[in-house]
Assembly symmetry: C2
Homo-oligomer: 252 residues x 2
């Protein structure tokens, strides 16, 4: 397996370096702050070499997004395998998403850039496909849980409503909230003190609205989430903690 020549290893490492530098540039200086010249300068390579790794800067952005999306899928799969009633497995997905957001605080900013048509259109079919794969697998994880709930009699969807429609509800709410969060300075002004909590509660209420049992009033939702985070996602939670501490230290 490890039959990579020194050259090949060098190339692979450099790719990682490019992504690392690009991520920081994007984070610190936004989309316009990302420039091929400056990445090359930072790594002490020429611009031409950069273009041997990525055909344009949009490809770098998509590569970054795909990297976090890969990890998100791992989290989704683990959450969907949480050995419990479907309603609790959905809660585990919610916990997973929150952990993901904490582990990749930049992800939604990048995804936002990527969704611009003039950025998206420059990306390669290969990377696009990979992204779509990750996305549809994530949707599939959740709709699988929905189907299990129906099979077990915990949930009955009305005529004409598909599991995917319900998943779309959770997805759009989560995506919307995270995007607003990532790009809005002042959510507190409007009266939302703890947006993550608000999101979790709203999602729970959406499921309640579909009559998915047990209803959020029938069990301690917060306690469950906390337990899932602490026990089932122990490793990820710890990692997120460390990252938060590091961020604190840097800002201090």
């Amino acid at each position: 397996m490890t039959t990579l020549t020194r050259k090949q290893r060098e190339v692979r490492d450099r790719e990682a370096q490019i992504l690392e530098v690009a991520r920081n540039m994007l984070l610190e200086q936004g989309y316009h702050g990302l420039s091929m010249d400056r990445i090359a300068e930072a790594l002490e390579y020429s611009k031409g070499t950069m273009y041997q790794h990525f055909s344009c800067k949009e490809e770098i952005i998509l590569a970054l997004v795909n990297a976090s999306l890969t990890d998100r899928l791992v989290i989704f799969r683990k959450a969907a395998s949480y050995p419990s009633r479907p309603r609790e497995r959905i809660a585990a997905v919610g916990v997973g998403v929150e952990l993901f957001v904490r582990l990749y605080p930049h992800h939604f900013k990048l995804e936002q850039v990527l969704r611009l048509s003039s950025v998206w259109e420059k990306t390669s079919p290969e990377r696009r496909q990979f992204m779509h794969h990750c996305e549809s697998q994530c949707v599939g994880c959740v709709s699988g849980i929905v189907r299990d709930a129906i099979a077990q009699g915990d949930l009955t969807l009305p005529e004409g409503v598909t599991p995917e429609q319900l998943v779309f509800g959770l997805w759009s709410m989560s995506f919307g909230a995270q995007t607003i969060l990532a790009s809005s300075t002042s959510l507190v002004d409007i009266g939302i003190g703890d947006p993550h909590r608000a999101l979790a509660q709203n999602q729970a209420r959406l499921l309640d609205g579909y009559g998915w049992r047990p209803l959020s009033s029938e069990f301690d939702y917060e306690a469950l989430s906390e337990r899932i985070a602490r026990e089932y996602f122990a490793k990820e939670t710890e990692q997120a903690m460390k990252l938060a501490q590091k961020a604190n230290r840097n800002s201090a």
Copy 2:
């Protein structure tokens, strides 16, 4: 009132022309397709003149967004004044948003661009403030309805849940769905045939989840929405129809 010199009128008209040209450019060629040079060329003015109207292209984008946002606020206010039970007034807001989306199909694409930090940061405080004003007024409209519902006994929010939190739920879901819609080619692949309908139903279920009466099962939600669109928003609906026809003609 009409004490504008010919010169002043010229200037005002030109501003409208700039926005018109810029909107089409953005729509047809995306963010990267918008260039000051090309706007100037299209209007047969020099670039310098453009910069007398807008200090940068980001300002143009925000001006466009503010224009549609102004109309959105009008729609929200009208919807909130729908003379009926709060639950139906909320439905009217939903109808209003859908009409808005149809009247300004470009709005969410532009808002998406605007939310990029590197775009937002270049805009002027005056225009930012105007946008925030529109947004908080819209949120205020909806939270007013929520408060009315509580006062009338149709809705009881649990301890620690504010009306704004519920509004955040509706907002994030709507925003998320519209953004996904505006930037995703293939929602059908995932199994969402009619996203607008799916959104409306999910929002209704969210309110059901909070126990806001009458529940969506207790009245014909679709019929109500249709009636509101046809009767209460007659003018706007007709306008949207015309726009759709025009779009069809153009694509044919």
